[in-house]
């Protein structure tokens, strides 16, 4: 089982009557970049959020590196350290500087000494092109800068998997590229990534596979060329006509 970095098996998630996820199956290998597309409300966020157990599956199983996320006995916090997450609205800690946003989890979760954490934090800020912003508070940064800090914050825990839930949807158009560039670099370095996004440029440049979802179901999985250029399912075709 450990040959897959993420394994989603017969995953179902219900919110009362709403079936947000219906029998989803998806295996992601180490180093793969998987793009998840689909109309609003199709269950993309739900699937992502079940991977690090921000939501709990109604039935089915999810494994990260062979560790069962859905087993109540497994230590979910250990698994979450391995899984970085980037949110649509950044969710930076507004009372902390950019640097402290990155180091907080290091010092509280991993008990990294402060000096060492600061060093890691500064390196990561430089990596996302924000070396000069370490003392800035989130409110003083643009959306694109905030999202890059958020990516650096997730990377600080040295995760094996990164989840991105519409990382550029809340950004002004001119800021999308700076965030996508950071994500592209990550993809090139071999990070395993699950990305909910409709950025075609990123899909073509970085995605190994594309997953199309509709009404809680995974409808189609294939390479970007397969899914975008010759989709097998009618629903995929209709959706793509809609967004292109």
């Amino acid at each position: 089982m450990a040959e897959y970095r993420i394994q989603i098996k017969d995953a179902c998630k219900n919110y009362g009557e709403v079936k947000a996820l219906k029998n989803a199956n998806l295996n992601i290998e180490a180093g793969e970049v998987v793009l998840v597309i689909g109309p609003s409300g199709s269950g993309k966020s739900t699937m992502l959020r079940c991977v690090n157990k921000l939501e709990t599956l109604s039935s089915g199983d999810i494994f990260v590196d062979g560790d069962c996320v859905t087993d109540p006995k497994s230590d979910i916090r250990k698994i979450r350290e391995e899984v970085g997450m980037v949110f649509q609205n950044f969710n930076l800690f507004s009372h902390l500087t950019a640097l402290r946003n990155i180091t907080l989890a290091l010092t509280t979760v991993k008990n990294t000494p402060k000096e060492e954490a600061d060093e890691i934090g500064k390196k990561l800020l430089a990596r996302v092109g924000l070396a000069d912003k370490e003392k800035s508070y989130p409110g003083q940064l643009s959306g694109g800068q905030q999202q890059r800090v958020a990516i650096a914050r997730a990377l600080a825990m040295n995760p094996r998997v990164m989840l991105f839930d519409e990382p550029t949807s809340a950004l002004d158009p001119e800021m999308i590229k700076e965030v996508l560039d950071v994500m592209l670099d990550l993809a090139k370095e071999g990070m395993t990534m699950m990305v909910v996004s409709h950025e075609m440029g990123f899909a073509k440049a970085a995605a190994d596979r594309v997953v199309f979802m509709d009404e809680g179901e995974i409808i189609e999985i294939g390479t970007p060329t397969e899914v975008f250029d010759s989709p097998k399912e009618v629903r995929t075709k209709t959706f793509l006509e809609h967004i292109l």
Partner: protein, 263 residues
Amino acid sequence: MAEIVKESRIEVTDGALIPDSAEKSIFSAWNISFFGAIIILILLPILSPDPYKDILLFIPDGIATTFQVTVLSIIFALIVGLFAGLGRLSRVKIINRIATIYVEVVRGIPLLVQLFYIYYALGKLVQLPRMTSAIIAMTFCYGAYMGEIFRAGIQGVPQGQMEAALALGMTRSQAIWKVIIPQTFRIILPPVGNEFIALLKDSSLVSILAVSDLLRRGREFASTSFLYFETYTVVALIYLIITLFLSRIVAYMEKRLKINGRV
């Protein structure tokens, strides 16, 4: 994102007259009351030094006591309130229930009755200094109100903050103490300031337990000199000046928080 602070603004019911920043006129209600009170307080001993000078020499000792009761009570009430607020939001049923009962009980009993009750109930167990009993009673009462402020403040922090913290591998309680609570302080500062003013006014009730606060000093002076009207005029003016002054500080804090809202 300063809207967040605005949205979660907690409405005030019992503070003093809060200056409205839109009201710029020299003849604003606040200016008239505040400077009017100060002018009267200065003119009285000049125009009729006979009783007023003596009153003004006798009473101010009580101001320190009033502030002592108020400051200590508010500090303890903040601590009690933090836990009451967390309790009200707790997922553990029994903790939640206890916190809610506490808030309901306190809200349902007049402060003066609570003061008497705690003073005499405590008196049956231990003999505490009057001042201590007074502070315990004020803390017990205001802790409940602070609890409601903390609860609203915690709920005012966007949900995504908790999720981001959990996603990084923090425990719930690490997230609460390192991420959520520090952000509530910005939200609750103005309402806490208002509670401070309300508590300062309510602290006059402790004079009933013979704690020599501002009001008690006035009573002591009046009961020997029989100058009730003159004495209580001065007492009222001093309370008014203090609360109006504090309310201006609260308004200023609120404005500062909105301007450099680094949320």
